[in-house]
Symmetry: C2
Subunit: 175 residues, 2 copies
């Protein structure tokens, strides 16, 4: 049976990354629900397009058991994450991410996803694909130069431009 | 100087295709404006996400001179194009597409884009990349099995999954 996926949408989000996941899930009958990492469901893509998610991150907290996998769709919100780390929606995102990982669920993400996993200490000793700029920044997980890496329950891609190599692996585990 | 691009967004649109164009344009400083092939700017992705374009196709008609290139972002609206061909927004799209082609502007698209070019007779004798299902359907242009093809002012990709091969070519001509 297809697994159910929760998709985290930062604001702004890279639309090319987000929709490579969503259209692949849609075409393969994998159910998903999108959650804005924001106070409202109104978010923007990096490219400036307004879009609406299904829900907000606050409403995913405590409902982790209803999902089998968590996608982190990266975007231009991330370079500014440091200055906004104390916002409630970012705190909620970290809690949700840790809860999914603690339950051994499938963790999926590209670009700066591994930086968050590293910060939370949830991918200890795991090999990850990640943006080249942060390869040497991560400490508890192992940064690589690979386009896509699967290690245990962690599925990571270097950037949105290498998701084509990760998505076939996602379909194997989620379908 | 960067060229200005008009982007046609059918409803529903494949978000993975649309946003690979838009994020690449955004990251490379190429100005663009999105036009819904619809009566309103509220459209959906195949994957069911609501989004808003900048404008509607009716307002692009007669303004073709303000742009250097036209992108056709394909989507699940296309399999039903036949039954909706007489809708005003679809008629407007065909007129706009013909006007761009007649002025020799850069024509960009994936999947079923070449089927529209073929119907309009604007890519006569041109080699095109297109969805495998329609390779033998096109008559005035030459269907190929290639992932991406540039022939004169026509830039085509087989599907949204092969846009990674077309986009570097687009950046060369648009930047």
């Amino acid at each position: 049976m297809a697994k159910k996926v929760a998709v985290l949408v930062v604001n702004p989000v890279n639309g090319a990354g987000l929709f490579q996941y969503l259209e692949a899930f849609f075409e393969n009958g994998i159910p998903y629900r999108t959650f804005a990492v924001s106070e409202s469901t109104d978010v923007k893509t990096n490219s400036g397009i307004s879009m609406q998610t299904d829900d907000v991150i606050a409403n995913l907290k405590g409902h982790e058991n209803e999902y089998d996998a968590l996608v982190f769709a990266c975007g231009d919100a991330m370079p500014k994450f440091g200055e906004n780390a104390d916002m409630q929606f970012n705190q909620d995102m970290l809690v949700v991410m840790k809860n999914f990982a603690d339950k051994g669920k499938t963790m999926i993400g590209h670009c700066a996803a591994a930086l968050l996993y590293d910060t939370l200490g949830i991918a200890e000793g795991k090999r990850v694909a990640l943006h080249p700029f942060i390869k040497t920044v991560v400490k508890s997980c192992i940064g690589t130069d690979e386009k896509a890496v699967v290690d245990g329950n962690f599925y990571t891609a270097q950037t949105e431009n290498t998701l084509g190599e990760l998505i076939p692996e996602l379909l194997k585990v989620l379908k």
